[in-house]
């Protein structure tokens, strides 16, 4: 498998993970009252998950594919 192919597959998997994280029912788990560091749980969850997703994208994009 070439490097670009394996990179592509990692990205596709990441996109699927993202769709899971930002949709019902995972989203509903955090749709509760209460706060995290003073920020409502849902808001905190979305921004943290989003940042993690971007970090993973950076890792895949910059690291190259599986050898």
């Amino acid at each position: 498998m070439s490097e670009s192919e394996s990179k592509g597959q990692r990205f596709v998997a990441l996109c699927m993970l993202g769709m899971l994280l930002f949709n019902y029912p995972i989203l509903a788990l955090f749709n509760v009252s209460g706060t995290l560091f003073g920020v409502p749980v849902l808001y905190a969850y979305i921004f943290i998950a989003w940042a993690a997703l971007i970090a993973s994208m950076a890792f895949i994009a910059e690291s190259g594919g599986r050898q």
Binding site: Y24, L42, Y43, I46, F47
Partner: protein, 912 residues
Amino acid sequence: MLHETAIVLTAFVYLGVLFAIAYYADERADAGRSVIASPYIYSLSLAVYATAWTFYGSVGRAASDGVGFLPIYIGPTLMIALWWVVLRKILRISKQNRITSLADFIASRYGKSALLGGLVTVIAVIGILPYISLQLKAVSNSFTILVQYPEIVMPAKIGVLATRQDTALWVALILAAFTIAFGTRHLDAAEHHQGMVAAIAFESLVKLLAFLAVGVFVTFGIYDGFGDLFGRAAAVPKLRAMLTPLEGVAGGYANWAWLTILSMMAIMFLPRQFQVAVIENVDEKHLNKAIWLFPLYMLAINVFVLPIAFGGLLRFPDGSVDADTFVLTLPMAEKRELLALLVFIGGLSAATGMVIVETIALSTMVCNDLIMPVLLRLRRLRLNERRDLTGLLLGIRRGAIVLILLLGYLYYKLAGEAYALVSIGLISFAAVAQFAPAILGGIFWKGGTRAGALSGLLAGFAVWLYTLFLPALARSGWLPLGLLEHGPFGIELLKPLQLLGLAGLDQISHAMIWSMIANVGAYFAVSLSASPSAEEHRQASLFVDVFRHEAGGARFWRGTASVPDLYSLLARFLGTATADSAFGEYASAKGLGWPDERLVADAELVHYVEVQLAGAIGAASARVMVAAVAKEEALSIDEVREILDEASQVVVYSHKLEQKSRELEAATAELRGANERLTELDRLKDDFVSTVTHELRTPLTSIRAITEILLDDPDVEVEQRKKFLGIITKEAERLSRLINQVLDLAKIESGKADWVETRVDMKEVISDTLAAMDQLFREKNIQVEARLPEKVSTVTVDLDRMTQVMLNLLSNAVKFCDSANGRVEIALAEREGFLSVDVRDNGRGISPEDHETIFNKFHQVGDTLTDKPHGSGLGLHISRQIVEHFGGRMWVESSLGGGARFSFTLPTGAAT
């Protein structure tokens, strides 16, 4: 202090700076030192996605439904994760085919269809109008609010203004002038606008900094951090419900999902995103950084949206201030004039960035895919005969820019007031999402046809017009509201907002469901119902298999053309300078100069010219123009198929070739090994021959010398004569023994020896050999001790050969054992399926380095020059060959001065 003149002046200074940046970047590009050839500039230019909608509208949306604004940015993040697969392919296709716009891409994919290109252009222009009107509204509103400072008054309350004060119109006109100056200064065959990209990247920085400044000011200046702000919001009952906003809203999660999908399409297929991401891309590798930098930008610009929204709701609890303006009105309410001015500039940069890129992209589409194809077909205009068309092309584009901005202004006047910013923008998103099936289907599925794409686009666009565009006009009072409430002619099932009775969704989700069903359904159904033409088939293959055949489309062309015709065609559209450099480049790649009569107008040159031309006037028009000067023979679908098959066969052949060459390499390596072995054997043979000759010469020399003495001197004494004859006999025996052994060895080594295998009792062999040698032992006064067990298993061997081995070992032992006090021991033992025989002497021993070599041919222990040889040097070699033939092993254990013990084993089971 914030006087109207000061605000206007600041705005113009900002625009002046933008222009200076663009001018500088263009100059640098002309000098060949591009400033935009950087992944960071590329990422920042992608952030043209964040417009006034993001800058002002997100806060407005957040103030009404909390996190509801976020799918617009999370969707693109998810889509960008797929860019490595999708956008990379689109980039490669566009580079190879010199795609100039979204419409060009779709038209080119479906057989360079001018009709399809035109339809895409119409959809894009109409679909984007609400989006442009949104920018005009945002800029004019922010200006109108800012000039009221220190009062905070909403524009709607100010009432009708005179034309001179109609800010939106002025904004539209100024932006039109500005865009013309930016985007259509000259005609570039590759449609690269380096100056524009540099300016857009700068604008992205400005709007981000301005927004972050307000965010930090509200969160940490007015309030005491996030916790304090959200804590106070939670104390207000009305706001508490917004902290978990997805609960209880009808279709909450479904709307969220649809907005995500919609934004995923928008980030790919908005004309301006396609422009910056694909057309303006200078290096595919920039994707690596952009894939995470651009999402990071979106995250950063959204962090403070919710704090500003809640800050605004807390500051203006009575609802007198439109939430879309919180970003501006909060600093104003806190009397931060400079911050308010910075916000205005940030909003201006967000809006101008969008308008500039969008109108340039749309004007290229209008020119290349809508107007030029029509003009070129009108024979009356005789455009084919005009010498220089570059002026005409630029004129059309400039006109298109003004027209598009005026249409945007018109939409703003007609429908802009009834909706919030985000709702206006989403209507445009839904329009460009209609391109998704034709493009995504087109690059991954060869079966999509021109008719399928046309049907899909028409069906999807019709549903969009009916469910989104029409209601927008109705709500603004331009159509009767009854249309929305009771359906056309009172038919309830056809209500635009609840088509076929589908209720419970928001307007956008509702429209997306129906338009996508219509679009995707028609695309696939029509594509599958008829077979594609030759041209469609060929383009489909070029697009879908772009990573497989890099060669491009030259091999699909057959016909006749002339170089001067092609040159003048290119010169007419691009100007002589560009045409000269294009031909020069082509000629130098062929190793020729330009002009050069040897240049041939073959398929490759025709294709090259067509691609160059496509960069200026679009694929469909370029095809028509080239067809006009080159007499092309039409290829039938079968011929196209054949060429494609050939191409795939070539791929198969090359794979086979690779495999063959790998096999050849392996065979070569084997041959080399065999050759090395042969050379070694050859050397051994030479050694053998010279050694044998040497061994034969020694006895022969002595025989000859003695016979000569006897011959010359007949008076030799009898005693002496007897001694001489004894030597002759002994040497002759040695000769014949040597010759016998050599023959024996030759037989064994060539595998021609006759082996007579019988069950043999080794105890008997040893006893017989000892008996035969008894006389010799006595003569030499050697003590012999044999330790033989009572009974041993038999072995399957050749009796005579085994006797030969024993004789050899024993005679060796006799030869080398101590001359005064000779002693030889023989031991036979049986263990674990083997018989072992040891023959031990008490001679001078053998040094360890000779333990292996003594088994070599003609090896004799000791210095051959000084010592008298004790044998032929073949005995041990032959013995070992015999033992090994019967599956056994032979070795020696010894040290100098400690005697030697020769051992061999033989398997007792069924031998070979």
